[in-house]
């Protein structure tokens, strides 16, 4: 890989995990102990790389440029003759060197780990494991809060359920209908609908239908014995009822 090829250079930059990574590589190229490294030389190399990369692509990731700016500052201070600012720079350089040493240690550790025979990569555990576990579910798991909340739940549900309790049905029987029809017939001058004889408290549904059929049966019974006359003008039309004209004038 030739360093002069700018495309190559940029590509290379892309492969680094951030500026520190590149700095460490540059530092190692000096082939000396990180303690004795020339920070100034390192800074210059970094800036040269970034400069080269910027010529190719302007859109260089921010952290590369931030590092470049910081290193430029560091370089200028390091070049100053002895002064308070130069001392600051010495300190900053020391920090940079120790960060590089930390990163180097981590890289070494990663390499060391990578060199271990990894389970599932280099060494393998038993593929067909055998399981001798037997599960015993005979015991109960219970807790008092569970008992209490169950009790409350039962009470609440029962309380809320009361409205649904089916009410006892007492249907209007044929006997009832006979009685009612006989009673009311006296007050009836002319034809009237049989439905008028239904009890007042059956409004709808099954009770009403039951009362209807009881009344009809009662009506038929009474018509047969000649007490009343029934008439229906059309299919499914209302059934009309009237007191019989006379006891002898049958249906």
């Amino acid at each position: 890989m030739s360093q002069s090829d700018p495309d190559q250079l940029f590509l290379q930059l892309d492969g680094y995990e951030g500026p520190l990574d590149l700095l460490l590589d540059l530092a190692r190229a000096q082939k000396v102990d990180l303690e004795k490294i020339s920070i100034l030389g390192l800074v210059e190399q970094y800036l040269a790389v970034i400069e080269g990369a910027r010529k190719i692509r302007l859109e260089l990731a921010a952290d590369w440029l931030v590092m470049a700016a910081w290193l430029t500052w560091l370089k200028s201070r390091l070049l100053l003759p002895h002064s308070a600012e130069a001392e600051d720079a010495e300190q900053a350089a020391g920090t940079l060197a120790s960060r590089l040493a930390d990163l180097q240690a981590i890289r070494a550790a990663a390499l060391w780990l990578n060199g271990r025979p990894q389970l599932g990569q280099d060494v393998f555990a038993r593929g067909l494991a055998e399981d001798f576990t037997e599960i015993d579910r005979s015991r109960l798991r219970t807790d008092l809060p569970g008992l209490l909340s169950a009790y409350l739940a039962a009470l609440r549900r029962a309380g809320g359920k009361r409205q649904y309790a089916p009410k006892k049905m007492t249907y209007f029987s044929v006997q009832d209908a006979l009685k009612r029809l006989a009673n009311l017939l006296g007050s009836l001058p002319d034809w009237a609908s049989l439905t008028a004889f239904l009890p007042d408290d059956v409004q709808s549904g099954l009770p009403r239908r039951a009362a209807m059929s009881s009344t009809l049966i009662a009506g038929l019974e009474m018509a047969r014995s000649g007490m009343i006359a029934l008439r229906q003008d059309q299919n499914f039309g209302p059934i009309l009822v009237r007191r019989a004209e006379s006891q002898t004038d049958g249906s």
Binding site: R126, L128, E134, R141, T142, A150, A153, A154, R156, G159
Partner: protein
Amino acid sequence: MDHEPAPHSLRLIEAAIFASREPVLRRTLAGLLPDDTDLDAAIAALRALYAGRGVELVEVGHGLQFRTAPDLAASLRKLVEVPRRLARAAMETLAIIAYHQPVTRSEIEDIRGASLSQQTFDQLLEASLITSRGRRESPGRPTLWGTTPSFLTQFNLTDLRDLPKREELLVDPLPVAPPAPELVRPDPVPEQTDISVSE
């Protein structure tokens, strides 16, 4: 036992059978070894190596696998207790019996507002959490039910009086019953039934 340092082929088929997730077919093993290897001899040697040990090489279907020796199974068995939970219906029934005992089955159903399945009831009986407590002297002489000493143990109670009082439990009032005429049971839970504390 004296055998040569295991040749590479032997080690390889041993590792392959060990690591594989399924029994390994002979032809798969053959594929791992140099062409001139006598696979049958290698398998036989491997089997001999494991003979009488805690693990044996067995042939299943057309494949080979290691298995722990059957005579060790009993010693290796490990009992894991996974306690069951009581189902909701059982828990409710138990709670009602605890609070209202002695209580008949139909009273329980009334309080829960749901019918009680035999299965639920049997579960409580089998777990020795409830027991019969004689009969009520009323038509049909229904059995009365109450909790057992095991019930106390199970719930870590020293006494039935350790159960919180019903009033203490009822932070929210029960839903108000609809005012309708069709109310069958006007006063569902008798006021006094609370806890039948046995002094």
